[in-house]
Amino acid sequence: MSDDKKMNPGRRNLIVLAAATGGAAGLTTAVPFALSMEPSEAAKAAGAPVEADISQLQPGQKMTVAWRGQPVWIVRRTPEMLAELPKLDDQLADPKSLRDPDTFTPPYARNENRSIKPEYLVVVGICTHLGCSPVDEFAVQPEPFDPSWQGGFYCPCHGSTYDLAGRVYRNKPAPDNLKVPKYMFLSDTRIVIGKDEKGEA
């Protein structure tokens, strides 16, 4: 074995220098490799904003648009549907959409109707529990999951329910209201989803 237990300081300094510079170089080299796993330009292009033509949407109807691989629902609500919304507040978990608003409710949706124009609801149709897509239950009639059902959405996976503003009912597995994506009206008949005045999502 070596018999110089006490290494001369010059040697030790060089070892430290070499280890430090070599380590820095190694880490710097690892950066491009890690970055290569970020979404590519193709993924980003596929995630670009999507336009929807709502000219054919009738009152009481829903249309679905794909954005970033997810269903986005545009529901044209009737005046009756809109009138019902405030009456449901005490059955809802978060009627004023105060929970984590930056994620779920952009500023222009922080109102009773959760939308820019009261008539049109725009939400991401993915249950905030574990990601299933709820089914439409717009008819106002007693349902097995709610004898006094006033219309909305029902998630078949674990039973969460949402009203026609996408707000989640109390005591259900889902914690949050349905997410309102960034969107804006390009005209009375065209909505772009994934983009608003502030920029792209």
């Binding site: 010059g10 060089l14 170089a25 980003k44």
Partner: protein, 255 residues
Amino acid sequence: MKKLIVISGLLLLPTLALAQEAEVRLDSAPVRNEPVQLQSGARTFVNYCLSCHGAQSMRFNRLRDLGLSEQEIQANLIFTGAKVGDTMKVAMNAKEGKQFFGVAPPDLSVIARARGADWLYTYLRTFYRDPSRPTGWNNIVFPNVGMPHVLYTLQGEQVIKQAKPIARPEAAKEEAAEEKGEHSPQKLVFEITKPGSMTPIEYDIAVADLVGFLVYMGEPAAAERHTVGYFVLFALFILSLVFFALKQQFWKDVH
């Protein structure tokens, strides 16, 4: 020992110099990589090439490299319903392309890496009128090509007049080369029978810019490659010095 190496090497070397291929000599492409020239090339490309050819690997929004904004790209360079994040897909159906031209027009994403700038520059400038061809055009660099002279409105129509009169001693060798079927654009005289919208010099510049754009499109990351390269080389140089010092430190004991 060394003499043996030299002698045996020399004895064998002359044999390698024989038999060069008879090819068309290409003009050297005067490509400039300035943003304005590349933008001009991009404009020519989308206006004249993208209807038949595609550049499927090239995304429109990558043209921000040329100093353009996404709005400028969308407004000036996209004529189909494509979005700025889409790739430059071909408008023409491949089957139809094969029907019209005999072979589907190839994708141009990496054509500059496959053919080289000089080939493309010479090709685009040596189309000439040939009534015997279905398109009415032939080409010096790519004989019997299926592509018509798309840029003829710019260059005009030209025919091959004659071989240049040669008054040099190499004449005999060159004539022999001509007989082997070697035609080089430098030896031919073209005559413009119908002028286009550009003078010959303007056309050469336009083609040079187009070729420059094709070279850029073949490898958009080239500029970044060089920039990062300087940093990396500098860093490795420093590291080499550090590790050399470290090596010397330890190896002092051994020597």
